[in-house]
């Protein structure tokens, strides 16, 4: 049977991708950020997960506003990354595990989640940057992915509670997959940031740290946050944090926190990396 071996949260800021490509790991601005990933890299080297189920959002690479699925799951053997328009280096295609994808899709639809199914899907920095920062030296990606794209661009976006419920079913799906696979679940994006308007540059460190703490032991309380709460307290683009909550729900009731690092700012954003494992 497949097992969930861990859960990871990570920012997916494009400038992190740029800094990783340029290997700025020890520059004073970047060091407190990149040092936060050392423990995650060591854990990945030791545990060697086969598949990452990556909960992320597309920012206008695969999906345009003509058709925005609230939840979309990739079911391909490979996912291309492409030019997003503003200078981020295009990365090699990411291998998929289509059979696991279809098992997750079947389980979710049986659980009454009406998701979109994508047999061709381009993946943008929302998925690429977190795996790039964990495996900066890889010639080819050392992990397969199942992309789970959540609409964060076009409001109304799904609620925190809906994402939590979806995450729980994703966890059920992974644990009921008959093949022996080690699966790690990623929730990417966030933390607090606002890119737009006169409030651009808003970061809320207090909110971020509180969110990280609650995510471990009382994630249910975070499902009470409304979209408006999140926009106000985490910034307009900080709503991405509900993808962390989706990951957390997939992990099951109890988790152990193996590693955590918060650093602000990187670019316009508060950043957090966390590594969780399911607890007995």
């Amino acid at each position: 049977m497949a097992t969930i071996v861990g859960g990871v949260t990570s920012s997916h800021i494009p400038r992190v991708g740029m800094a990783t490509s340029k290997r700025l790991f020890d520059e004073p601005y970047w060091k407190p950020f990149f040092d936060g990933y050392i423990a995650v890299r060591e854990w990945m080297d030791r545990i060697k997960p086969d598949v990452a189920v990556v909960i992320y959002n597309d920012h206008g690479l695969n999906f345009f506003l003509d058709m925005i699925p609230t939840f979309a799951i990739g079911a391909a053997q490979t996912y291309d990354n492409e030019d997003e328009g503003w200078g981020l280096k295009t990365m090699p295609p990411v291998p998929g595990d289509a059979e696991l994808s279809w098992h997750i899709i079947e389980t979710l639809i049986a659980a009454e989640f009406d998701i979109a199914i994508c047999q061709e899907m381009k993946v943008d920095h929302g998925l690429i940057v977190p795996i790039q920062v964990i495996w900066p030296d890889a010639d080819a990606w050392p992990i397969q992915v199942v992309p789970v794209a959540v609409n964060m661009v076009q409001h109304p976006i799904p609620s925190a509670k809906r994402c939590f419920d979806l995450g729980r079913s994703i966890g059920d799906a992974i644990r009921s997959y008959p093949e022996d696979k080690k699966v790690v679940v990623f929730g990417t994006g966030g933390m607090s940031h606002q890119l737009q308007g006169q409030r651009a540059g808003f970061i809320n460190k207090r909110f971020d740290l509180d969110f990280m703490e609650k995510l471990v032991h009382e994630p249910q309380t975070l499902t009470r946050l409304t979209t408006t709460d999140l926009i106000r307290d985490a910034g307009a683009e900080g709503v991405e944090l509900i993808m962390w909550l989706t990951m957390r729900a997939a992990m099951g009731d109890k988790v152990n926190l193996l590693h955590s690092n918060y650093h602000a700012p990187i670019s316009n954003t508060g950043t957090g990396v966390m590594l969780l494992e399911p607890a007995a």
């Binding site: 030019d83 076009q154 737009q196 651009a200 540059g201 460190k205 602000a264 700012p265």
Partner: protein, 121 residues
Amino acid sequence: MAWTKKDYDDIPGTFVFDGRRSQMGWPLNKMCMSFNAQANRDAFKNDVDGYCRTYDLTVDQTQAVKDMDALRLLELGGSIYYLAKLAGIYGLNMQDLGAQMRGISVDEFKEMLLAQGREEV
């Protein structure tokens, strides 16, 4: 036809990209999506007015594009994720845009971010 009042409308300095904004900004965001291709970025640079006409931008949207006026583009229905693709053509990143929208210098904007990171909580 009516747009309902939203509880996020009162958050200061914030443009929530909902249906009202998305409908208004459709031609603008559609044009920005085309900038994922280098050939289209080049075509835009060669003839900004002509390129905006191809996508049926309004006169106001076209002017705001030429001015790269981020706040005006938001008011006219731009989504920040799509506007980022336009800003890239002008050689501007999200910190440049943030400073512009706040009406401060890029150095001041960066210092403001650093100060928030230093806050004791």
